[in-house]
Amino acid sequence: MTKILVIAEHFDGEILSATSKTVNCASQISESIDILVLGDDSAVASQATTIDAVSNVLSISNEAFGYPVSSIMAPVVAEISSEYDYILLPSSTFGKDLAPRISAILDVNQVTDIMSVEEPRIFKRPIYAGNAIQTIKIAEGKKVLGTVRTASFKELGNSNSANLIETEMPSVNIPSHTRFIKIESEKTERPDLQVASIVISGGRGVGSAENFELLYQLADKLGASVGASRAAVDAGFVPNDMQVGQTGKIIAPDLYFAIGISGAIQHIAGIKDAGTIVAVNKDADAPIFEIADIGIVADLFEFIPQLTSKLD
């Protein structure tokens, strides 16, 4: 049977939902799915055993994996993958950074951003920021290496108890040329952008970091996450990890609010899979209205307080 190895993404001791979504993609190819977890202890690996459709969770614990560094992980993944036909990673910054190094070691072409599995070797993927869709086929007999566009796949259930297999660190050369210094992430109580069922995004029209408070208040009423356009991030209203779009996060909430966002193709690229898009803009000709499911021409400084108070 076709054997698939999914590389787990975890952060701060938590397996991220991107891992489960990648397994979902894998489950459309074969029933033999293992997850590889590289970490500094096996606690994270045990979380992965609950993900449905997984057979085995291979856990390699080593202090070298205290923080994910691709040049350290790639040779290990390449070594472990020798027994597998497919290697899949989430198409997050983690997977995008790591997968190509595996491509180089194994000398196999990589497919970025798999959005659907047509046949085991035929995939669809977005190009030109999602303005065109490419269908590609990987030659028979070749190992398949791909990253999975997580917005295209739902998270699987958590009722499994897969085997946890403590695996020896293979004897590969661990480079010392890359040193992790620090990570700055804003802690927030709000749901993660990638997971939230409602996302409220603000653009340049919001005008300042202080004004984003309006969006946070609305978001808290709805249990929503808050995102932003690139212009809002560049202007310093919000941190970079809130950016939605071609070069930010690709998300698929049930409900998306684009507030004071004009609707540049690079922004739209991040919300193509949203269920319902609501656009709020004071310019009736803003391109965002062309793709919105529900549009309202309004000044956001009047609109947001009105909606927020309606939800009381």
Binding site: S103, T135, K182, N240
Partner: protein, 250 residues
């Protein structure tokens, strides 16, 4: 360091509305404005700033693509690059192949730093820099939003999904650039004139050792499925009703 190598791709300009060819063989490029991939332009700008800061002596740019890529290389020379190399090749090329071809240039040029965009806005693959780093067995710092060079190493702030990560890497290394790293300069007319006299070497892809075949076949390229057309509402009241009808608000 002696030299920075910057890799540049010719792509459809980011302002152009993409149209898929009726025969589904690809997207329309005839008569369409072409530019340097915006992320690569940022990489070049950063390399020029590093040189202007006295941390590098020469900036060499390289592109793989059709003969017309000379236009983008000339633009790069006008921005301030010292010399350009074109590996001439028609047709689609997979990132693995591009990286292999680039690794031959790296071997010849022996740069202290290699820079390129974090992705090309045509195929959005985001692979070439990382593959090249592994082929050359050197460190990588992708998605860079801040770069500082110290003698034998670089400190790079990276934009990752969880926030801003700082890595320290030994040189030589590869840095791929994100949008917020800098704002590229505008080229001025005298610079365009000067650029015409700069060296632009053309190498035929066949002269390289790299095999340009691929194990990935493109079956077709289609437009994305259209979204159903939406409705306009007049006020918050109507919006709330519409959302409740869809079961999105309780």
């Amino acid at each position: 360091m002696e030299k920075i190598l910057v890799c540049i791709k010719r792509v459809i300009d980011y302002n152009v509305k993409i149209r898929v060819k009726p025969d589904e063989s690809g997207v329309v490029t005839e008569g369409v404005k072409m530019s340097i991939n915006p992320f690569d332009e940022i990489a070049l700008e950063e390399a020029l700033r590093i040189k202007e800061n006295g941390d590098a002596v020469e900036v060499v740019i390289v592109s793989i693509g059709p003969d017309d890529s000379q236009q983008q290389l000339r633009t790069g020379l006008a921005m301030g690059a010292d010399r350009a190399i074109l590996i001439k090749h028609d047709g689609e090329i997979e990132p693995l192949t591009v990286a292999k071809a680039l690794s031959e240039i790296v071997e010849d040029e022996n740069p202290g730093l290699i820079m390129m965009g974090k992705q090309a806005i045509d195929d959005d693959s985001s692979q070439t820099g990382q593959i090249l780093a592994q082929l050359c067995d050197i460190p990588q710092a992708t998605f860079a939003s801040k770069v500082s060079i110290q003698e034998e190493k670089a400190t790079v702030v990276r934009e990752i999904d969880q926030g801003l990560e700082t890595l320290e890497i030994d040189l030589p290394a590869i840095i791929t650039t994100d949008l917020r790293l800098n704002e590229p300069r505008y080229v001025k007319l005298p610079d365009i004139m000067k650029a015409k006299k700069k060296v632009l070497d053309v190498i035929e892809s066949g002269e390289l050792k790299t095999d340009f075949s691929s194990s990935i076949e493109v079956i077709n390229v289609t437009p994305p499925p259209p979204r159903e057309s939406g409705v306009m509402v007049n006020d918050v009241e109507e919006l709330v009703v519409a959302l409740k009808e869809k079961g999105l608000l309780s």
